[in-house]
């Protein structure tokens, strides 16, 4: 692969094409972005990642011409947009920055309505769209539309920022470290929500981060940039992890690549184990029978909507006495994940809860099955095996070529 050219292998339609894009800031001896060419396929999350000062943010801002390129061309849907009116261009591209930049003096609804208003939408259509978007990002419109940004938490502001960027339904969104200023727990949740959202909306997203773990988790493809926005490698996360193009990439991914690989597999990709369960309100004797009949040491108590409540074992039953409701004895059912959680998240949940199992629930929080630590272990092992096989094949191919 050429140093400064990125073409996405096996990609569908090309949404954005950058051709020999360069930017030199006035008074600087070197280009901040040097002769960058890149093809960005439609409907994918493309991550620009690299060390600080590599020009990744500048590169992103060249696309909507917040920073005007010194030379080179930008194509959106095969249309050369290098010289079109930048204000009109930007209304077609969603834009989310780390500081979010909500307008503090207008309501959440007006913040979200910014672009539709500029596009001259009718009032009814705007109102409808605002409510729809608030629902999409998981905020109750009745409760939030008339509030002001300062009344929201950091995570909620971020959601409104995303809703605002999507307001006129742009095909393309630019996101500059959108989850960077948020505490790790909320960030994790927002990342997962965003991935779930992207499954429905299928936007073309250019996503800038300096965090390789975020890149691996969020990206369909990752462009690892070195200084002056030279592309070190542009490929899927899997292939970058398994087959780093050079030492720079390998260094950047860092150690612990096996752990990172856990970010590539999701709970829905592994086989769930079943566990004996009991409805809250079941008699203690029946629970004891259940325990005897299974090889597990505890049963999972579910409420009437099948949502996990408690772990209860024989000892708990004995200690609690016959009258106690199942939902009030035993240990809390922590470490709960949904099918789209990565195995890395799942492992994290287990370690936090100090359980060796994680409970898998569907989107309405109903019990689906169990992932245990052995499953995760097996996954890591089989990934390593697959990788070794691949490397051996590569070597064999190389030998054949050289002989």
């Amino acid at each position: 692969m050429n140093d400064s050219t990125g073409s996405a292998p096996e990609a569908g339609k090309i949404k954005i094409r950058l051709e020999g894009l360069s930017k030199r800031f006035p008074g600087q001896g070197e280009d901040a972005v040097d002769n960058l060419s890149m093809e960005i396929p439609e409907g994918e999350i493309i991550i620009l990642v690299g060390p600080s000062g590599c020009g990744k943010t500048t590169t992103m801002k060249l696309i909507n011409r917040i920073i005007e390129p010194t030379s080179g061309r930008i194509f959106l849907d095969d249309e050369d947009v290098t010289k079109v009116n930048p204000d009109l261009l930007r209304r077609r591209i969603g834009y989310v920055i780390q500081q979010i930049g909500l307008f503090p003096h207008v309501t959440i609804a007006d913040n979200i309505a910014t672009v539709p208003k500029m596009l001259g939408w009718k009032k009814d259509r705007i109102n409808e769209r605002v409510d729809e978007l608030l629902e999409t990002v998981g905020m109750d419109p009745g409760n939030y539309r008339d509030r002001y940004p300062k009344e929201l938490s950091g995570g909620q502001r971020q959601r409104v920022g995303v809703a605002r960027a999507m307001s006129a339904d742009p095909d393309v969104m630019l996101m500059d470290e959108p989850f960077g200023a948020i505490d790790p727990i909320t960030r994790d949740r927002l990342q997962n929500e965003f991935l779930r959202l992207q499954e429905q909306i299928k936007k073309t997203i250019i996503f800038v981060t300096h965090d390789i773990d975020e890149a691996i988790k969020m990206g369909d493809r990752i462009a690892i940039l070195r200084e002056q926005s030279h592309i070190a490698q542009f490929d899927t996360p899997e292939r970058i992890l398994v087959n780093p193009a050079d030492d720079f990439v390998a260094d950047f991914i860092g150690r612990g690549a096996s752990l990172k690989r856990l970010s590539l597999s999701r709970v829905r990709d592994v086989e769930l184990h079943q566990w004996p369960t009991a409805q809250d309100g079941t008699g203690h004797d029946e629970v004891r029978r259940l325990l005897e009949a299974s090889d597990k040491s505890a049963v999972l108590v579910l409420d009437s909507q099948q949502r996990p409540m408690r772990w209860v074992n024989a000892e708990h039953l004995q200690r609690a006495g016959d009258g106690a409701a199942l939902g009030e004895i035993g240990l809390p059912a922590e470490a709960v994940v949904q099918p789209n959680a990565t195995l890395s998240d799942t492992l994290n949940e287990m370690l936090t809860a100090r359980y060796s199992t994680a409970i898998v629930v569907d989107s309405s929080s109903a019990y689906q099955g169990i992932v245990d630590i052995d499953t995760i272990n097996d996954t890591v092992r089989s990934m390593r095996r697959a990788e070794r096989v691949r490397l051996r094949e590569d070597e064999r191919n190389d030998e054949q070529v050289s002989s």
């Binding site: 930007r90 503090p104 500029m118 998240d345």
Partner: protein
């Protein structure tokens, strides 16, 4: 907490509810907060009225202390204040906008220096100087007041525009707002509280300094004070001084209410 969405959602809601119950500062006064100053000023005026009524007035005093003369003087003072402050706004706000645009960065310091001259000269000196070299009466007085109070409004306009969070402007530009829309819909509204504070300063200075108009034939309540001094009539002097003080406090009170009312919600 990958998927404990339900519990987290309520958690964040609580945070928001908590924040919503906190009253935004300075937006609403209590009824007493609104009534205190007008009641105080009215009582002072009533007391003053009965005090003057209870006195045997000499013909010199009666000439000055009658409703006609006082109302004319008050009107002159208010006119000077309003006209000069309006001109200050018309000059200082556009100038402040201009001087904060990126292209004007190099001319900002010299421009500020020019406006600084007006404020550096003592107001009485400037007024007398204009009377000597130009004219006496209303117009030179307005010019002197404007020269004296442009700087605080200009400076506050610039500070107000510059303190707008850069990320807010970047987000606005990034969504395709034109530069003009960013100025009128984002920057200016967010600068209003600080511009209003400058305006209040200018009003207060102007209503007080307008009193000096008595020295250059522009009338005003200052004529009572000057007459009181010249004719050695304590009563006229005291009435003039109290009326000026009451007017200044009233103007400041109205400006304070305007300041609170015009502050955009959400700040």
């Amino acid at each position: 907490m990958t998927t404990a969405t339900d519990s987290d959602e309520t958690g964040t809601n609580q945070v928001a509810h908590g924040a919503a119950t906190a009253q935004p500062r300075g937006r609403h006064r209590s009824l007493w907060g609104y009534l205190f100053m007008p009641l105080l000023l009215t009582s002072i005026l009533i007391l003053l009225y009965f005090y003057v009524q209870g006195r045997e007035l000499s013909s010199g005093e009666a000439n000055r202390l009658n409703a006609d003369a006082i109302l004319t003087a008050t009107r002159e003072q208010i006119e000077l204040t309003v006209v000069s402050t309006a001109l200050v706004l018309a000059i200082a706000i556009p100038m402040g906008i201009l001087l904060t645009r990126p292209f004007a960065r190099s001319i900002t310091p010299p421009a500020i220096a020019v406006f600084n001259i007006g404020q550096a000269i003592p107001s009485i000196g400037l007024i007398v100087l204009l009377a000597v070299v130009w004219d006496i009466g209303f117009r030179p007085m307005v010019v002197a007041l404007v020269a004296y109070t442009v700087l605080p409004v200009l400076r506050n306009t610039m500070v107000g525009l510059r303190q707008v969070d850069a990320s807010v402007i970047e987000a606005a530009r990034g969504m395709g707002m034109t530069k003009r829309a960013v100025l009128t819909r984002i920057e200016l509204p967010l600068a209003v509280p600080i511009i209003m504070a400058g305006l209040r300063t200018a009003l207060t200075i102007n209503v007080g300094t307008a009193t000096l108009g008595a020295l250059v034939g522009a009338g005003t309540l200052g004529t009572l004070i000057v007459a009181g001094i010249v004719q050695n009539k304590q009563l006229i002097l005291v009435v003039g001084a109290i009326l000026v003080a009451v007017l200044a406090l009233l103007v400041d009170y109205l400006a304070a209410i305007a300041e609170e009312r015009l502050r955009p919600r959400g700040l």
